[in-house]
C-alpha cells in the first residue's frame, strides 16, 4: 500500500489550514473539523477574529532581476544586465528558514527569469527541505530535458509564459516559442505545467488560441493575468491596458473557453472587479477563494533583496523577510491592504462584493490615482460611479 504524503497544517483563529500537494489543495477548516481531524486546540482559537492570517499562506520570491528578455510589460524592469542586487543562495537560506518557521505552505519562485540563476534548483530544494512547496514561473528559454527531469519532482507546478501563439508577437519579445517548447519538455518529464498569459488590449483576441493549444498539449490550467502598471509596464500602461469592453468580457470568456476546451482557466486576483460586475454568487466566491486582493492578508511578496511587501506589484516597504515573525504583525507596509475594507470609499463601501473583491488592484489604484486607499478606477462599477459623480 502506498504511503500518503504527510499533510501540513497550521492553526488559525478560525481553526486551521490544511495543505496537500496531491491533489493540490488548501482547506480552511473550522475549529470543530480541525478537532475531528486530530488537530489539537490552540490558544489562537480564543483570539478575536481578524482578516489577516497568522502568517502568509504563500510567498512570492523574486530570486533575481536578471532576465534574458526585456519585455515591455515586465513589472520588475528586468533585463540581461540586472541582478546585481540579488541575494545569494547562502543569503536566501535563513530567509527560507523564516518562512518555514511561519509555516508558509507555498512559495512561487520567479524573477526576472529564475533560470538565469545556476543555483535555482538549490533554492527550490532548500524550500522543499523546509516543508515548503516550491512552484515556479519561467519564460522557458533555459529549460532543457535535464532541468525538466529534476524540476518535475521538485516543483509543485511550473507555469510557462505564453502571451500569444506565434507568429503573434506581443510585449516586444518572442517568448511563446520558448514557452511552448519548455512546456512540452516539462510535460514529457511528468511535471504539472500551467500557462501564464498576461492579458492586454493587443492580445485579448489571442487568448482563445492559447487556451486551445494548452488544452491540446495537456497543460493543467491557464491563468489570465491582468496587465499591471508597475516596473517597465507603467510606461505604456495607458495604451496597453484592457478596454472597458474587454474587462467586462474577460470573466464570461474564461468560462466559455474552459467549457469549450475542458481546461481550468484562472483569473488573477486583480481581475476580481471584472468577475464581480457579473454579479456571481458572493458565497461561492468566498468558499472557493475567487478572491480579490489578498496582499498582506495571506500573501507576501519578497523581492530580490529579501524585502517584503504585501504584493509583488506594490512598492516593497516592508521588513526583511528574515524578520517575518515580527514584521508580519507589526509592519505598516501592509496597512493599505489590511485596512481597505474598513476605510473603503464609495462605490466600494456599498458594494456587495467589498469583502471578496477588496477594492480591486492596489497597484492599479495607486498608479492611476496616486492614492493607496482608492477604489480600482478600472472596476466597471467604480468607472460608472465616477461618470455620474
Amino acid at each position: 500500500m502506498s504511503v500518503a504524503p504527510a499533510p501540513r497544517w497550521r492553526h488559525e483563529r478560525f481553526g486551521a489550514i490544511v495543505a496537500l500537494d496531491e491533489p493540490p489543495v488548501l482547506a480552511w477548516v473550522d475549529q470543530t473539523l480541525a478537532t475531528e481531524l486530530g488537530i489539537p486546540s490552540s490558544p489562537l482559537w480564543e483570539a478575536p477574529a481578524r482578516e489577516a492570517l497568522v502568517a502568509p499562506v504563500e510567498a512570492h520570491l523574486t530570486v533575481t532581476r536578471r532576465c534574458n528578455l526585456a519585455c515591455t510589460h515586465c513589472y520588475q524592469e528586468s533585463a540581461p544586465t540586472a541582478g546585481a542586487t540579488d541575494l545569494t543562495l547562502a543569503e536566501w537560506l535563513p530567509r527560507l528558514d523564516a518562512l518555514a518557521r511561519a509555516q508558509v505552505f507555498h512559495v512561487a519562485i520567479g524573477g526576472g527569469e529564475a533560470l538565469t540563476r545556476p543555483d535555482l534548483l538549490a533554492i527550490a530544494e532548500a524550500a522543499r527541505a523546509r516543508g515548503i512547496t516550491p512552484n515556479l514561473t519561467t519564460n522557458g528559454a533555459f529549460v532543457d530535458a535535464a532541468f525538466a527531469a529534476r524540476a518535475a519532482t521538485l516543483f509543485g507546478q511550473i507555469n510557462v509564459s505564453v502571451d500569444a501563439l506565434p507568429p503573434h508577437r506581443v510585449f516586444g519579445a518572442d517568448k511563446a516559442p520558448d514557452g511552448m517548447r519548455a512546456a512540452r519538455l516539462l510535460l514529457a518529464a511528468g511535471a504539472r505545467v500551467g500557462v501564464n498569459l498576461v492579458v492586454a488590449r493587443a492580445n485579448f483576441e489571442a487568448i482563445g488560441d492559447v487556451v486551445a493549444w494548452a488544452a491540446e498539449a495537456g497543460i493543467a490550467e491557464v491563468e489570465l493575468l491582468r496587465l499591471k502598471p508597475t516596473g517597465r509596464a507603467r510606461h505604456r500602461y495607458l495604451e496597453e491596458r484592457l478596454t472597458r469592453a474587454q474587462r467586462e468580457r474577460l470573466f464570461p470568456l474564461a468560462l466559455e473557453l474552459a467549457t469549450r476546451h475542458g481546461i481550468p482557466v484562472k483569473l488573477d486576483c486583480s481581475a476580481a472587479p471584472f468577475v464581480a460586475c457579473h454579479r456571481p454568487d458572493p458565497e461561492r466566491m468566498e468558499q472557493y477563494d475567487v478572491a480579490g486582493c489578498i496582499g498582506g492578508l495571506s500573501l507576501l511578496g519578497v523581492d530580490e533583496r529579501g524585502t517584503t511587501s504585501a504584493c509583488s506589484f506594490y512598492p516593497g516597504r516592508g521588513d526583511d523577510v528574515a524578520e517575518l515573525a515580527q514584521g508580519w504583525t507589526d509592519s505598516p507596509a501592509y496597512a493599505p491592504f489590511r485596512d481597505y475594507v474598513a476605510r473603503a470609499a464609495e462605490p466600494c463601501r456599498s458594494c456587495a462584493y467589498l469583502t471578496t473583491c477588496r477594492g480591486g488592484c492596489r497597484a492599479v489604484a495607486l498608479f492611476l490615482t496616486g492614492r493607496d486607499d482608492a477604489p480600482d478606477p478600472e472596476c466597471p462599477r467604480v468607472e460608472d460611479h465616477a461618470a455620474h459623480a
Binding site: 475531528e36 509543485g156 474564461a254
Partner: protein, 91 residues
C-alpha cells in the same frame, strides 16, 4: 506546532477535486455521517505565478458547488479517511 506523528489524514481532502467520483471511498454509501465541523474555504491547485494569485473561476461551472455538496462531501470524506489513518497507525 504541528506534530508530524499525529494521524492527520492526507487522503480525505482528495474529494475536493471534481471528477474523482467517491474520492476513494470504498463506496459512496460508505461515507460516515456528515461531520459536525465544516470546510470553510477551499483553494484548489498551486499558484506558481510569482506576481499575483490565480483564482479558479471554473467553480462557477460546477453544479455541485452551487448546492454546497462539495463542501459537505469533503467533510464526510475527511472523517472517513481520518478514521482509516488512525486505524493504520494503531495496527
Amino acid at each position: 506546532m504541528p506534530d508530524p506523528a499525529r494521524p492527520l489524514d492526507v487522503e480525505k481532502l482528495r474529494a475536493l477535486l471534481p471528477g474523482l467520483g467517491t474520492a476513494g471511498l470504498p463506496a459512496a454509501d460508505a461515507a460516515p455521517p456528515p461531520s459536525r465541523g465544516r470546510v470553510l474555504k477551499l483553494k484548489l491547485g498551486f499558484n506558481p505565478n510569482s506576481s499575483s494569485v490565480g483564482t479558479t473561476v471554473v467553480v462557477f461551472l460546477w453544479s455541485l458547488v452551487a448546492s454546497g455538496a462539495v463542501l459537505a462531501f469533503t467533510s464526510a470524506v475527511l472523517a472517513h479517511r481520518f478514521a482509516r489513518k488512525r486505524d493504520e497507525v494503531s495496527e
